[in-house]
Symmetry: C2
């Protein structure tokens, strides 16, 4: 009877859960809605019920579960303490301890969601075979997770990898949601692409595929850029220049073997990788060509893979 | 008969060595010149002789030495491999293995010099009591070392903490020795202070204490700034703004508990810390006030402390 490891990824709207073998095979996955009413105080009970139900449906014994990992969309510490998680309404709690109690004492471990996704890509995604990676997710915002010698870094305040708020553009005049101006979030995220695309359209008069859109999306900008639309290309180059510079800076700071790019914007594939790499190499003169930049493989499942891997590490070290 | 741990810090002109107890007490230290002739092929033999001589002079038995750590001014890997070290003329070698052979098999471990200094401050300097620190040295150039949960990070290519070449100033027009423009080295190092001080003096006509100097040094600029000289203050603020921004970025990337500032420029004391902190807090809106910025304590001995600590870790884990 093989041991099972469960990975949970709590998002602001849905909770994903997956059941894994020790070897990293995903046996079953499912989603339930995230109930953020009443300061999210039903979330852990909902997770417990859904785990028990799914084990029963598949005739897996509860005792087969060796550990559970949970990705949380907030700065959870290595000690398990979470001071504040605005997305869920949680504050001042130890979610791993609380969930472990609901699960009759099965050991539970927590981590930040982007860090968990990094660990997932390291374990079973495009980071497989590397020892040290930086996973960067380009979605609504920009986040990242850092794995050094197979270990996920938490950071002293749970902020490790929160690269959305590194300062990249001193010329930016709009204020970021962090209160500063010129953050990477304002440039290389899906929202950043749209915001900068609108600016570039406004200050140019030339025709563009993008002018035909009622509302502009990052996907439309990326598709138009792939089709050679000049203003769309200008937008993508402008935004990714800042990401390439940031990757160069991270090469000098944490020096991973590979940067793995995921999130919605990465669906533009090799097209976007080539642009990022161009600006990375322009900046990283000393490390040029030394770190690889590749696409993520696990998509939205990266978080549950990483959470399961963290529980595996907890149980087997 | 207590075990001894030896820390060696190989610099371009001098090699420092210290003998330590397991508890981190420095029992004796000395220096010998670095012989970089003939591709530095005498360096390890010179270290061996000086260690044997010093042990004998103090009636310590050779067998008391549990381990030796060596800080190297180049990107040595965690495996011990050093591809290239221009300062010493070394290339394509495993210095730890070679030195261990000369020392009758005593285990030897290597690390980059700035990373070793970080480990030294963590062990017995101002990082004592913290688990995760970033040590930044402001000397001829800018370097750093990162300790996470008590472990020194090497990086995949031995470049971890090489923050002198992160891009901080897109307006810079002079080329850095790395080939790029606008590196932190060009701003926050002693050379950066002098370079920018000269520029500021050249484009202003107002009187300044600095105009009385035949040749300008970083110390003169810092002393004049402390005395309230307006152009000196402008120079220091201009240069340290980029360091404060970089510390903010590093808060979001590696999120240490504390940043420890060492190197020649740090001799300006609390005066320079206050300026760095001002710009750190301006940029780090989300982490404002969360990481401490403090002065290093061990000065030029940090490297031998760290090297001894790394050998201690090697022998006791």
């Amino acid at each position: 009877m093989d041991k099972l490891y469960i990975g949970v990824d709590i998002g602001g709207t849905m909770i994903k859960t997956g059941i894994f073998t020790a070897a990293g095979e995903l046996l079953r996955k499912w989603e339930i809605p995230t109930d953020i009413s009443n300061s999210g105080n039903r979330i852990l009970a909902d997770i417990t019920v859904s785990i028990r139900d799914n084990l029963k449906q598949n005739s897996w014994g509860f005792k087969q579960v060796a550990g559970v990992g949970v990705g949380v969309p907030g700065p959870v510490l290595e000690s398990g303490y979470l001071e504040n998680c605005v997305n869920l309404g949680w504050g001042n709690i130890y979610p791993a301890e609380a969930l472990s109690e609901l699960l009759d004492g099965i050991p539970v471990v927590t981590g930040n969601d982007a860090n968990m996704a990094a660990l997932g890509e390291y374990w079973q995604g495009s980071g497989k075979g590397f020892r040290s990676i930086v996973f960067i997710t380009l979605g609504t915002g920009v986040g990242s997770g850092i794995i050094v010698n197979g270990k996920m870094l938490y950071g002293a305040k749970g902020l490790c990898g929160e690269i959305g708020h590194i300062s990249v553009n001193p010329e930016e005049t709009e204020v970021c949601n962090c209160g500063h101006m010129g953050c990477l979030d304002q440039m290389a995220s899906a929202i950043g692409l749209v915001r900068n695309g609108k600016r570039i359209l406004a200050r140019n008069t030339e025709p563009s595929l993008l002018r035909k859109q009622a509302t502009l999306s990052a996907k439309q900008i990326l598709d138009a850029a792939k089709a050679g639309d000049r203003l769309a290309v200008e937008t993508v180059e402008y935004c990714m220049k800042f990401l390439g510079k940031s990757i160069s800076d991270m090469s000098y700071i944490v020096d991973p073997e590979v940067f793995i790019i995921g999130g919605g914007v990465s669906k533009a594939g090799d097209f976007i990788i080539a642009i990022i790499r161009k600006y990375y190499e322009e900046h990283a003169q000393l490390v040029s060509g030394k770190a690889q930049i590749i696409l993520a493989e696990l998509g939205n499942d990266a978080g549950i893979y990483g959470a399961a891997k963290l529980s595996y590490d907890m149980c087997n070290e």
